[in-house]
Each structure stands twice: as structure tokens, then as C-alpha cells.
Amino acid sequence: MASFMRVVTAIVAKDLLVEWRTKTAIVASLVFAILVLAILYFARDPTEVSSFAVAPGALWVTFTFAAMVGMNRAFFLERENRALDGMLLTDISRSAIFVGKMTANLLFVFMVELITIPLFVLFFNVSVLARLPALLLVVAMATLAFVAVGTLLSSMVVRTRFAELMLPVLLLPFLIPPIVGAVQITARLLHDRPLTEMMGWLKLLGSFDIAFVTLAILLYEVTLDE
């Protein structure tokens, strides 16, 4: 367990350091998030559609696509100079490599989401302060599900041509259930509905988290075979 955690923390620290140095993914994701929010804001006729009606969908469309921009680079980093081979040569657990990459992606996507939430409040003029802890819980649960699948698929498509196109095509169908759940919960949160109304969706999100993370860890080793 100690060596598992040592590998996970080494990979997370390395990925975040590389991102800190290059800033390629964070800048691309944030620019993308601002563009999506702006387009969705101006596409709405404020006299006919209230911001509360479109805000939950807008938030999750922004999160999903901004995260995808960042996730694309997760294994590109390892493809450069075949750095992944260097890890595979060291007899470390393949699961530890996956969990390390997934955790780094998770932190990266959270960072993008945390920066995006104030922008979302600004664009859509919705108050989330009172329900912020609950909103952050939903964000964390939905993000874990799609980052787990996204990291797995990123490791699969990285060796294909047109990998940047392949990831969204493969990932989006898997994202529909958790994103639908996240949108439903966010809509109820913004309307100050009681927590009991959301329990079903929260349990569904929790189930997706357990299923997606477990399957992704189990299947990762298969993606390493050439």
C-alpha cells in the first residue's frame, strides 16, 4: 500500500508540475469555458427564458467540454518520448499508474471548475453561495465519474490517429447518465429545493462513481497491450 501511494503521489506531483510549467491545458480549458458560457448567455432571450431554466445545463455543458480539453492531454504527456515505457519498466502496479493519472486529472478538472463557478454566477446571475457546499459535492461526484472514464479512454485513444477527435466521440455516451444526474441536482439546488428531493439522483451519481472508477482501474491494464 505504501508503494502504491508513493507511485500515485509521484505521478500526481509530476503531472501537476509539468502543467504548471507549460500551462497549455489550463489555459485552453479556461478559454474554452469562458467561450461556452458567453455563447450560452447570449443565445438566451432574457425576456422569454429565465436564467434559472438554462443555468444548470449551461454549467454542465461548460464543465464537460472544458474538462475534455484538459483530459485529452493526460496521456499525450506520456506518449511524448514514450515516457510511459519508463514507468512500465519499473515493475510498479499498473493500477497505481492509472490512479495517479486519474487523480492528477481530477485535481486539474476541479481547478478548472472552481475558476468557472464564479464566472457562471457572473454570466447567469444566479446565487449559489447558500448552496455552495451541496453544489461542490455534486460537482465532485459527477467529475469523479467522468474523469475516471475519461482517463481510461484517453489512455486508449492516445495511440490512435486523430486522438483529439476520438476522445469526445467515445467519452460523451458514457457521460450522459452522470451529467443528466448532475444537471437535475443542480437545477433543484438553484431552486432551493429540499435535499430529500435529490437523494435519488445523488445515489445514482454515487453508483456511477463506484462503477466507473472500479471498471476503469480493472480495464486499464488491457489498454497497455499493443
Binding site: S3, R6, V7, A10, K14, L17, V18, R21, T22, L77, E80, N81, R82, A83, D85, G86, M87, L88, L89, T90, D91, I92, D225, E226
Partner: protein
């Protein structure tokens, strides 16, 4: 015995890269494999390192391996030392002193704080060799280890190889430049026509005679 291969074959789809390759490597053996482009030298090293599954046959090894390939396995955005530290954390048991010793041995100590992305081909190659040696592997697998190296760099790498052999290590090198590595070779093999000719010992063989045999095998097709 450090490593052995039996009936090894590898295909990519319907294309056979090599087949029926068998040999064993003992402590102190330095097997140099020569072969033309596309003969499967790099693929064979990747199979021996455990990075590729063989399509048939098996590789037996109970010792750790270090691999230096065409790709450096280094991160361009990290410095030389950061790359070494990351690799050391994966190995788990490598001391800071060993990182420093290896950087110094490969002549990279003064560039320890420079990013790998700014390095020349030769500097990257030296660092890749230092990285491969980090886990103190018993078997070193080297794919064109002298490519991009100047004369002093070539000499350093030759010395490192000799030190590795002196420590009861084993070595498999694939190269086009047999002459530059003939001094360290104890065995030679010819990877031609999808199979391995040899390996045979270097006893009584000169670099010229090895290259002559290689050219005649190529001519025979």
C-alpha cells in the same frame, strides 16, 4: 542465467516481424545484435523488456532490466534532476546520492537544473542512459546507445557499459555501428530475414569479420 528467450515471435497484424528467436544471456555476456532497418531489433528489445507481449514463445527473466531506446522516456518540461527524481520515486529505493553519482558519471551534473526540452540529442541520450541505470538493473537493453553522441560521450558510455559488465551484469545492444561497440561485445547475433543467426562468441572474431559476415547475410537475403 539472467535472461532467456525461447521460440520468440512477434507479429503486427498479419506482418511477421521475427520468429523462432532463442538465446540465453548469462552474467558478463554482452550480446551485440546487428541488423538492417526494419529487421525488428527495436521490437525484439521491447519484447525482452516486457513492454510488448510476444506473439509466440516466451522470455524468462528473474532480474530487473534497464532499457535505452530511440525514445528517451523523459519529460521535456522537467529538468534533468527532476526526471531522475521522478524515476527514483517509482523505483522507491534510490538515494539522492545515486542520482548525483549517475548524473556525474554521464557528464550531466552541470545541466542538472536545465529542462530536457532544451537538450541536444547527445545530452538527452546521456540522461536516458543515466535513467536506465537508476534502478541498478542486472540486464541493460540498449538500442543504438551511441546515436547522437560525440567522441567523449561515446567514450563515457563505453566505460559505463564496461562497469556494468564488471558488476556481473548482462547486456544486449542493437546497433548499426558494430565497430564502435566491438570492444565490449562477447557475443554477436545477426537479425536478418525475420530470424536470428547466432548468437556466436566473439572469440577470434574481429569487427571487420563480423561486418563481412553481416554483409554476406544481407546479400543472401
Amino acid at each position: 542465467m539472467l535472461l532467456s528467450a525461447e521460440g520468440l515471435a512477434r507479429r503486427f497484424g498479419y506482418r511477421s516481424i521475427f520468429k523462432n528467436i532463442g538465446f540465453s544471456l548469462n552474467s558478463g555476456d554482452a550480446l551485440v545484435l546487428v541488423g538492417p532497418n526494419g529487421a525488428g531489433k527495436t521490437t525484439l528489445l521491447r519484447v525482452l523488456a516486457g513492454l510488448l507481449r510476444p506473439s509466440a514463445g516466451e522470455v524468462k527473466r528473474n532480474v530487473s532490466v534497464g532499457l535505452v531506446s530511440h525514445n528517451s522516456m523523459l519529460y521535456d518540461a522537467l529538468t534533468a534532476e527532476e526526471n531522475m527524481r521522478f524515476a527514483a520515486r517509482l523505483h522507491g529505493t534510490v538515494s539522492n546520492g545515486r542520482i548525483e553519482t549517475l548524473l556525474d558519471r554521464l557528464g550531466m551534473l552541470r545541466w542538472r537544473d536545465e529542462r530536457v526540452g532544451t537538450f541536444s540529442r547527445g545530452m538527452t541520450q546521456r540522461l536516458a542512459i543515466a535513467r536506465a541505470l537508476l534502478g541498478s538493473p542486472k540486464v541493460l537493453l540498449l538500442d543504438e546507445p551511441l546515436s547522437g553522441l560525440d567522441d567523449p560521450g561515446t567514450e563515457v558510455v563505453r566505460e559505463v557499459i564496461v562497469e556494468h559488465m564488471a558488476g556481473d551484469g548482462g547486456l544486449i545492444v542493437v546497433t548499426h555501428q558494430f565497430e564502435r561497440l566491438s570492444a565490449v561485445a562477447t557475443h554477436v547475433g545477426y537479425l536478418v530475414g525475420g530470424g536470428l543467426q547466432g548468437p556466436s562468441t566473439m572469440d577470434g572474431l574481429s569487427a571487420d569479420s563480423v561486418m563481412q559476415r553481416y554483409r554476406s547475410l544481407l546479400a543472401d537475403g
